[in-house]
Amino acid sequence: MSVDVDMRVTLGSLELRSPVLSASGTFASGREFSNFVDLSRLGALVTKGVSLDPWPGNASPRIAETASGMLNSIGLQNPGVEAFVAKDLAWLADSAPETPVIVNVSGHSVGEYVRVIERLESESGVAAYEVNISCPNVDAGGMAFGTDSVAAAEVTAACRAATKRPLIVKLSPNVTDIAWIAAAVEGAGADGVSLINTLLGMAIDAETRKPKLARVVGGLSGPAIKPVALRMVWQVARAVDVPIIGMGGIMDATDAVEFMLAGASAVAIGTANFIDPTATVRVLDGLAEYCHRHGIERIGDVVGALEV
């Protein structure tokens, strides 16, 4: 790693010291990884989904390994926004004060999303919001908002009205035309989009004739989804002007470069954290090495530099 590559990127009004973020739901609120990673090196820490009230999550089994990937149906289990403020935000303010915190906001209804944001507006340790309209594992809300451009715009506009902080909307890949949804949330006031969330899938145990997940279906992540994610980042980059946080199966720096070439201003590391708890900083070091090898002075120069 070298100091002379400029790794800073901007996400709208957010100035980040590096383009590598944690993906929501794979990094808790950072504490679990603080033995492995210097959290201050992250461009931002994106928290696990936070809802207004505590959510119990889904029945077990909640995960299944599949070829080059995994399915999950955790169901956004979380203790609710009050506990998040008292425990997670307090810990972050104390232990990772230099790391921008992007809070992933979840809800069963437009009103719940807004109330989570309203509760967090008075907290100084929040740099931005990522509105999760794409979780495939909850019955009400979640992906339902992210697969309908009108509903997506409605949630975005309501959240927009609740805050002046940067508002990022996390998009679902489980749609026919993700660029259409991206344009809708951009039009409703989103400052950026992150994509992709997991792809809806399922796994079956042929011996027992039972689904491998208690909820039958779940979200597919990991290297298996990277080609789909890259394609969607590329399509969205051509359709909107707001910056993109790209994610979906990034395991190493080469994967991250590919997302940036496709048009992502920053990248998020998700499932890779489960396999290698140092994945975020390993990718960051690899990005600097890539820049050196190619004589690139600013990582930002890679963004959208795909030669078609």
Binding site: T26, E32, F33, G57, M70
Partner: protein, 265 residues
């Protein structure tokens, strides 16, 4: 218990031995000095068994024994990942682990007599405990069970340190004919124990927990769950307890039996 520096880390490992020790069961000895120096009985390691992209997740394994710079893992060959493990040869240095992880067995000060109840591969997290208890001067009795003689594991480990061993097999091929709960119940009736430690199939652990409760002896169980991260982030491995849903990887895998809600989905 002596408090040692016990934070987990990523550690490259080398295979020192990898032998078939029972039908479908392997015993792998790994060079892992950092983990070996700090792991406590009942803790686990999260092992990356393949570096290719086809199977991506780590596999959690209780540390069976730790000695010097080595840790031992008992594993049942049940799927793609464990099949890869079975194929590892001595000198293989392609794997790494994250560990030591989780909360292990609690050994209260002043206990004199402990009962270990191991069902099948449930012996895995109990080997190191038995050695640790014996080293502290605690008298150890063991009830161990398996489907059949060929699938009984870790008998030698327990024989070295236990004052009494009772064995049961489903087919009667060694020891008595029946479930391990038979000798466990008899031992609890015949002797006074200060603690019961058990691991095995969940139904067996639940039955042992009930026997211990009936005998008014504190019981700890080591629960197995599917997990992805092993460090508390993914919330895959939840266990229902009287205090709500907790994570097996960081809040367990060892729990006080009376905290576990066995009937939860």
């Amino acid at each position: 218990m002596t408090e040692r520096h016990n934070t987990p880390a990523l550690e490259r490992v080398t295979v020192l031995a990898n032998d078939r020790v029972a039908q479908g069961v392997g015993l792998m000895r790994l060079q892992a000095p950092r983990c070996a120096a700090s792991v406590r009985p009942g803790q686990f390691v999260h092992l990356r068994v393949a570096r290719g992209a086809d199977i991506i997740l780590r596999r959690p394994f209780s540390v069976h024994r730790a000695r010097g710079e080595h840790v031992e893992i008992l594993y049942q060959i049940v799927g793609t990942g464990t099949l890869r493990m079975a194929e590892k040869i001595v000198g293989d240095d392609s794997m790494d682990l994250v560990g030591p992880l989780g909360h292990g067995w609690q050994v209260p000060d002043g206990i004199a007599h402990a009962l270990i109840v191991a069902g099948g591969l449930g012996a895995a997290p109990l080997g190191m405990l038995a050695e640790d208890l014996a080293a502290r001067g605690v008298a150890v009795s063991v009830a161990m069970g398996a489907p059949t003689k060929e699938r009984l594991v870790a008998r030698d480990v327990f024989e070295r340190v236990a004052r009494k061993i009772e064995i049961a097999t489903d087919d009667g091929s060694v020891g008595e004919h029946g479930l391990v709960t038979g000798p466990a119940e008899r031992l609890l009736a015949e002797e006074n124990f200060d603690a019961v430690y058990t691991c095995g199939p969940q139904a067996m652990q639940r039955a042992v927990a009930r026997l211990a409760a009936d005998a008014d002896v504190a019981c700890q169980v080591s629960l197995e769950r599917l997990m992805a991260c092993g460090v508390g982030a993914c919330v895959s491995c939840v266990v229902s307890t009287v205090g709500g849903l907790v994570r097996a990887c960081v809040d367990g895998p060892v729990f006080d039996a009376e905290e576990v809600v066995w009937d939860a989905p």
